[in-house]
Amino acid sequence: MIEAILRYEFLQNAFMTGILIGLVAPLLGVFIVVRRLSLIADALSHVTLAGIAASLLLEKKFLMFSGLNPLYMGMVFSVGGSLFIEKLRGVYKHYQELAIPIILSGGIGLGVIFISLADGFNTDLFSYLFGSVTAVSRADLWTILAITITVAIVIFLLYKELFLLSFDEEYAKASGLAAKSIHFIFIIMVALVIAASMRVVGILLVSSLMTLPVAASIRIAKGFKQTIFLSVIFGEISVLSGLSLAYYMDLAPGGTIVIISVFILILAILIKKSGFRKIA
């Protein structure tokens, strides 16, 4: 395995992005889950898909767009979608979750229109739907590295503000925290991480990498910092063992990673049930 990684650049790219995503998706995922925003990740991933379809369409129809990395357009759509969700949440104050199906179906609708305009795509789009490790380029790797570093630093610096906002939004506002700005930064980070993760696990499975490791860790962790720590560990285990297993057994990497996360989740539930108390 190590030899193969050293030999093939595509494997290096795959494992490096895997390690980065395994860190940043659960790290941000903890805040998404405790704020009960898990579905936002799903909605945004579908908007990202629309962006990718748009990019592929432009590439097919106009020569000047050939060579444009669809990841960028996906990110633009994702960030745009996240801002739109915020607007909708403001409009439907008492039905904030309505914003999610609106954006989700809007994203799919746009995506389908772009696909039909292009008279269908080749396997390219398929690789974005389910993830394709072989498709990860060096350029993708650098983009994902930049996003990971940025997000990790922002979370580190704004940790106590993000914690307060997640735990008790009203109290955060009452203590004069710039809740709106913090939330805005947060939602932009979510949009970026979703766009970054889709190369590895695919649009359809992105949200699972942000939520499953957290769901497992919440069962057994004590305190918030430990929840973050365990989530990242579970995320890395899933990604690394998933990629290796997929490589040896010639399975779809995205699916393998997610199934391993589910497996870890089941273990966590069983451990807790069997009376094995919280680790100190």
């Binding site: 914690f163 735990f167 004069g176 919440i218 929840t227 100190a280």
Partner: protein, 261 residues
Amino acid sequence: MAGKPVIEIKGLSYRYERETVLDNITLTVPENAFLGVVGPNGSGKSTLMKLILGLLKPQHGEIYLFGQEIRRFKNWEKVGYVSQKANSFNTGFPATVFEVVSSGLTKKMGLFKFLKKEDKNKVSKALESVGMLEFSFKNIGELSGGQQQRVFIARALVSDPELLILDEPTVGVDAHNVNSFYQMLGDLNKNRGITLLMVTHDIGTVSDKVTHVACLNKTLHFHGNTEEFEQLERNGLSEIYGHEVHLLDHHHEHEHGGVTR
């Protein structure tokens, strides 16, 4: 001993969508006061607290905190808050009691600062003052409702506020702990000079601690010191203001500030 006003409210009105819930409220809370706010359900007590905390924006009237117009007020770390709904937070939240109380220091510490040794000592001291120190490293969701409420009180105290706003803080806290809690509030008010504003349904129990009482039911029906309030009550206040219970049922002597109507 009536000091300069900590809170000044002038002609304040507020309505949600259509319904007016606060009508032309004028109220001054002097420094060092312990004001008990009473009123039936739906009388606008929580709404008034949220307005004072800047969580809601009034349609009419003005609010001054520490002499500053509320929209320009920045020193929110001077204000502690225990909300009425404190125990309806997400109980599955994976945070320890210690982490929750530390979050009360967020504003005071400022951006990009991390918890130092002395901050941790403050957190422990706040937990000790509500008798919850031994639960420091339990997850907040593993505590009973009353214990959680005491943790939220510790969170409000940890930043050494000069003004403490409490909206029915003792809901779900047992009688023994309610008494020691009121004792603690009395101490904070007398010995540390903290100004207190507390919404409560059992003014009778705290009547020897509060210095002033405000009766609210959309409008301010009464605002004055405790003795005047007792007098008014003997003259049938309950009927005017629609509260069927006896608000004060024992006598006591204590010093208090002047009338601030």
